[in-house]
């Protein structure tokens, strides 16, 4: 009898220990991924205590890598430059599945219902759509154009409401709208939209797809509420202008900041951030900044816009007050600032400095650095709250 009474609690204690180490329960809402581009790895990070949890290796060429999340925020889909698509369980830090789906890819998106993952490819140019669960191919959309049936590089791929994907054809000057509501892609093509679309974005409400043009000034808008009306040009003087300043790093449109009244856009090849009225797309003013802007990102409450810059002025981050429309802070987090990501409600921002080998976390109210995490050539930072945002 005594024996039983003594051993049962001991056995119970040990089995509890085992359970703890193998399946410590936690949520994923405060997790994220930092790309370590030189070593083909990622670090899984956590924003509540500002720590790195683990590293996942073997992800191939991660230059220009990006990440989308499954809607349960448990899986990260990492899109690599070498055509690799890797599904990672961020709770167990394990690769669930990895495929090489093309020779050269540039980005991806996840569908409205979370069931499809789309990848845009440079080579062979086109979009491939996969089952987000199994990574099996659902649809292959080669971006063929012209009489010789050449294949264009595809850029600016985003998800849109109604189980649609929108993307631009860099070599063909076209925007394509792929509707997958029926399970098979139904494509609408918009031709001669303007020369060399190089990136695209969708407004946070999912209504407007906007493509930037490299080959000429101006932007192209497709209203997804009325796709039958075709594309429209806005901001005819947006671009490199008559002087055609060289651009050492293509500005990103994905990070475009939208506040209630204004959109803040990176000028192409010039050291300014443009402020545009969101109602009529007319330029309100331009704000002189440290260098050629790359990412122009609004804090979730829209009160500040954070900007990083192209080589060789890429050691700096500036903060713009969106009400006063001027730069209120200049920070120097280290060499080669590549990306910034706000915590879900914006009290902090994580900034990656590739050549300094670290991520610095700033308090966005007083601009104090609250932590730094060593990383191996960090580039993109992606937090899980992206799972529930259109276009991210």
């Amino acid at each position: 009898m005594m024996f039983f009474i003594k051993t049962i609690p001991v056995i119970f204690f040990f089995s509890l220990l085992g359970a703890c180490s193998s399946m410590h329960l936690r949520g994923t809402g405060d997790l994220g991924v930092v790309i370590e581009r030189a070593s083909g790895s990622i670090q899984i990070v956590e924003t509540t205590n500002k720590t790195a949890l683990s590293r996942v290796v073997g992800l191939g060429d991660l230059s220009h890598a990006s990440v989308v999340y499954s809607r349960d925020e448990r899986y990260a889909y990492v899109f690599g430059r070498d055509g690799g698509l890797t599904k990672i369980n961020i709770l167990s830090s394990k690769i669930t599945k990895r495929i090489i789906q093309s020779g050269n890819s540039i980005g991806g998106a996840i569908s409205q219902d979370g069931k499809q993952v789309a990848v845009s490819n440079y080579k062979p140019g086109g979009v491939k759509i996969f089952d987000s669960n199994t990574l099996e191919l659902i649809a292959d959309i080669p971006a063929t154009y012209g009489s010789e049936n050449k294949q264009s590089k595809v850029v600016g791929l985003v998800d849109a409401p109604g189980q649609r994907f929108v993307f631009s054809l860099y070599d063909a000057d076209e925007i394509w709208l792929a509707d997958l509501a029926s399970g098979k892609p139904v494509i609408t093509k918009y031709k001669n939209i303007g020369r060399q679309p190089y990136d695209g974005l969708i407004t946070p409400d999912g209504r407007y797809y906007i493509a930037g043009l490299f080959g000429e000034d101006g932007l192209v808008v497709l209203d997804l509420w009325y796709p039958e009306k075709g594309v429209k040009r806005i901001l005819d003087n947006y671009g490199r202008g008559s002087k055609k300043m060289p651009v050492y790093k293509m500005p990103h449109l994905e990070g475009w900041a939208m506040t209630e009244n204004y959109a803040f856009l990176p000028a192409v090849g010039r050291n300014t951030v443009l402020v545009v009225n969101r109602r009529n797309w007319k330029q309100v003013t331009s704000i002189a900044v440290h260098g050629q802007p790359v990412f122009v990102m609004a804090r979730p409450d829209g009160r500040q816009v954070w900007v990083n810059f192209a080589y060789p002025r890429n050691d700096t981050v500036q903060v713009i007050d969106t009400d006063k429309l001027k730069v209120i802070k200049t920070l120097k987090p280290g060499k080669a600032i590549l990306h910034m990501e706000f915590t879900p409600r914006g009290e902090q921002v994580w900034v990656s400095a590739r050549d300094a080998g670290k991520v610095t976390i700033y308090d966005t109210e007083n601009f104090n650095s609250v932590a730094t995490l060593p990383m191996n050539k960090p580039s993109g930072i992606f937090f899980t709250h992206r799972a529930h945002r259109i276009g991210l």
Partner: protein, 118 residues
């Protein structure tokens, strides 16, 4: 499309005088490099990271074409050097002569033709 064609031809015509001007400005292929070891490391980093942002970090191509030894082997070295120095007007390829010296560009081209250790 018609537009593209025109710019293509105009660009090619423009390139001939550009090449001539570039090489007549005292630029000959000198083989001895007096670039410091530290600068060489910086250039290597620039090539992989910053050229890599358009050409891919393994230089197998991105928005810009592949710059691997294989991809370049049948292309004129001078042409490649001029492209890096002056860029390709009408395309995103920027001129690097505002940032890099001729010698540094020459060093980069040497690296490209002998193969980059990634």
């Amino acid at each position: 499309m018609v537009n593209h064609h025109h710019t293509g031809i105009v660009l090619k015509l423009l390139l001939i005088p550009m090449v001539l001007v570039y090489f007549s400005s005292g630029y000959a292929a000198e083989e001895i490099s007096n670039i410091s070891v530290q600068r060489q490391a910086e250039l290597q980093n620039l090539l992989i990271q910053d050229c890599g942002s358009c050409h891919g970090m393994t230089l197998k191509g991105g928005l810009g074409p592949a710059l691997t030894t294989d991809a370049l082997k049948n292309k004129s070295r001078k042409m490649i050097e001029v492209t890096i120095a002056l860029g390709r007007p009408g395309t995103p390829m920027p001129p690097w002569n505002r940032i890099l010296t001729k010698e540094e560009i020459h060093w980069i081209v040497n690296i490209l033709y002998t193969g980059v250790r990634l």
